[in-house]
Symmetry: C2
Subunit: 429 residues, 2 copies
């Protein structure tokens, strides 16, 4: 029954029941964690074979004769550029392969624009006054942390089912001090939605400052679940078609495909941006770790190989999502106190509780033995204006741990809502 | 016989003899390269066993239980921090372990100071006008490239047998716009000298701007040759003792120890700098490749292990240095037209030919079939004011190739000097 339709007495009875369940749970003394977007032990075990494809007995030269253990190939092994090109649906010549972190590639790119300018003809962002970034929210806290560190003012943009609110975006980018925008266009972190074709086309086409850049963080480009697959338009091509070839730079990595600390990251960009990026890296490094690039290519071989691997990972991850989604559905559906995403891929479930209740849900979970992602982390400056969003990361815990953790989460969502509806302040726990 | 003491007729006869040798060499049609500071194939073969220490059957957790294949340890595996601490002679807590490139760590550090400031209380360098760096020269071209890229004005400082000319340095750093200085303090690139204790102490003690920083690139910290070993004072401790704990940040890597593209790099810094650096990297990455850190620690074990490995590499590299040094000694000694370094370690031999002759030696070698490092590369802005210095990189070619290449180099040095002394312009080759 919808809480809004309950009488005060019914709400009190519901609260008593929930408190009873809460204390029972707390008495079990569990220590659970749903905060970390980390692969589980099982995922890692499925890719251990990658450690075997290079050893002291195997060749360490590519078919073209490149020694992967010596200097060379500053933009990546040719076969690895092809590999990422196939994953992203772009030609290999648009690809630059980096180290183990796409976040580093994004940081470096923003730093390039910030300290040197986004193009040959534009001034460094740092020299243009109070520059701003659009931040579709909820979004990824590590994106926001880069802006905050550099003093780039963040403007939150509402996320919809089809991507960021494009009317809002188009209005905001008319300000020439708006220099960029973060996008996780597929299985968005944390809402799980994929940008619609219309959203992509409007992003590519809209009027912006010349040195406005979209950080197209395609982190979950092939991270499908449940055998489903969202389709995303290829952004670099759309930007070219729209006459704005330098609008976007795309990023991805194998952090949630091979090893989280020891994967490889890549970026893709159209010609002018790519030349500027290569020029930057030419000053920074003699080249990234080609041995690890070689391992990945030898192990996954090609797009089909890595998609087959993603299907194995889906078999591990999908049931975890199902445990959480099933409990939310069976326990919270129809109560009118929460909404949640049901993504076809990615790493997160986004839960919106009653406005003003997220912090309380976090506290109740923490007291009861379950750690959630910090409330507000998914918003610029760590502040959720509605105090409503909770990011759930189901990949790392076991199915049993997830089941337990979600049980407490559900109770806590109810308790926080009941406190709000009853207006009697926090219950002493 | 010293060329300066020869009659014109004797010089002409010598020129005829050298030209005869030059044409004979050129007729062999060789294509040799002494330009690249790269490990040879033989060096790489000695460390292939490192590829075996992690495989799908071995543990991928440290003794403390850290999963090296998942996120975590943003400042490096504890055992790897200890490993680099032992190499650099500093406590492990001063160490930050990075990716595969110490150049990247240096670039990042300069970028931090440039865009955010060297300390909490100082302005970003970019906001302070025309900031400058001291560049002991000849030096490392990739250091100079960073400054040039960022528009940091480079001031060359003369290198002596004991390090940079400290009278010059002490005078220059009184300018508050001098913000930093590059140093390769041991087996300096390219002169091969090691800074004396007095030089180190004067660097630590001198009066500078508060946000002046020394980039202490200890690239060749354990790269001894011929069973000899230069001793270098530990810089971070000297800076602390002198009351300037934030003066220097130290860098090193295994690029010329394990694999050039797939080694690991580290930096060491005193507390305040290190906190600032960690804070920067916390925005940039979730952590560097711990699997590769683990490989290095498992394979080398400890300081003794890596020093034993360096002795093996010395057996490969020392004879190469001997071939070059032997030929220079037997062919150029006493002619009064060249001086060269005779280092106890490192990767380079520095050859000074008669002023105004280096470019001509480069041309003659190129025409004859030997590629040298670009003349001027060892000086800021690629300009050797004396046109005198040639950097010789003996590690990559085979002994036979080196012997051949040095033969042509010696002839070319003579020919260039003879052209200068005869004053008849370039001989048509």
């Amino acid at each position: 029954m919808n809480y809004a339709e309950m009488s005060r007495a019914e709400l009190k009875a519901e609260q008593e029941q929930c408190l009873h369940e809460y204390y029972n749970f707390k008495a079990r003394g569990l220590k659970l964690d749903m905060s970390r977007g980390k692969p589980s032990e099982g995922q890692i075990k499925e890719v251990l074979g990658m450690l075997d494809v290079m050893n002291s007995k195997t060749a360490y030269k590519t078919e073209e004769g490149i020694n992967v253990l010596n200097y060379g190939c500053p933009d990546g092994l040719p076969e690895c550029k092809q590999f990422f090109g196939d994953i992203l649906g772009v030609p290999a010549e648009k690809v630059f392969v980096g180290g183990n972190s796409s976040l580093s590639l994004m940081f470096d790119y923003i730093m390039l624009c910030y300290a040197k300018g986004a193009s040959e003809t534009s001034k460094p962002w740092i020299m243009q006054g109070d520059v701003k970034f659009l931040c579709p929210s909820p979004g990824y806290d590590r994106h926001f942390a880069i802006c905050e560190y550099l003093g780039i003012k963040m403007i939150p943009v509402r996320m919809t089912e089809t991507g960021p609110d494009m009317d809002q975006v188009e209005a905001l980018v008319r300000d020439p001090l708006v220099k960029g925008m973060f996008c996780v266009p597929k299985y968005s972190n944390p809402t799980g939605i994929t940008y619609s074709d219309e959203t992509v086309k409007r992003l590519a086409k809209m009027e912006t400052a010349d040195d406005f850049r979209i950080i197209w963080d395609n982190a979950y480009c092939i991270h499908d679940l449940f055998g489903r697959e969202d389709k995303l338009l290829e952004m670099l091509g759309e930007c070219e078609t729209a006459g704005n070839p330098n609008r976007a730079v795309e990023f991805c990595s194998t952090s949630k495909i091979s090893f989280s600390g020891s994967g490889i990251a890549a970026l893709a960009a159209n010609a002018e941006n790519l030349a500027r990026i290569k020029n930057y890296y030419a000053r920074m490094t003699i080249g990234y770790d080609k041995a690890n690039q070689f391992r990945h290519v030898l192990y996954f071989r090609d797009l089909k190989g890595i998609k087959d691997h993603m299907a194995i990972l889906s078999d591990i991850i999908s049931p975890r999502f199902e445990v959480v989604l099933g409990a939310l559905e069976s326990q919270l559906s129809g109560l009118g106190i929460a909404k949640w995403s049901s993504p076809n891929g990615g790493y997160f479930i986004s839960l919106d509780v009653m406005p003003g209740c997220a912090t309380r849900v976090y506290e109740l979970c923490k007291e009861g033995g379950v750690k959630l992602t910090n409330v507000g982390a998914t918003f610029p400056y760590g502040k959720d204006p509605e105090d409503s969003n909770i990011r759930i990361a189901p990949t790392f815990p076991s199915l049993e741990e997830l089941s337990d953790a979600t049980e407490l989460l559900v109770i806590s969502v109810k308790l926080a809502a009941l406190e709000k509806l009853l207006g009697e302040g926090k219950t002493q726990i």
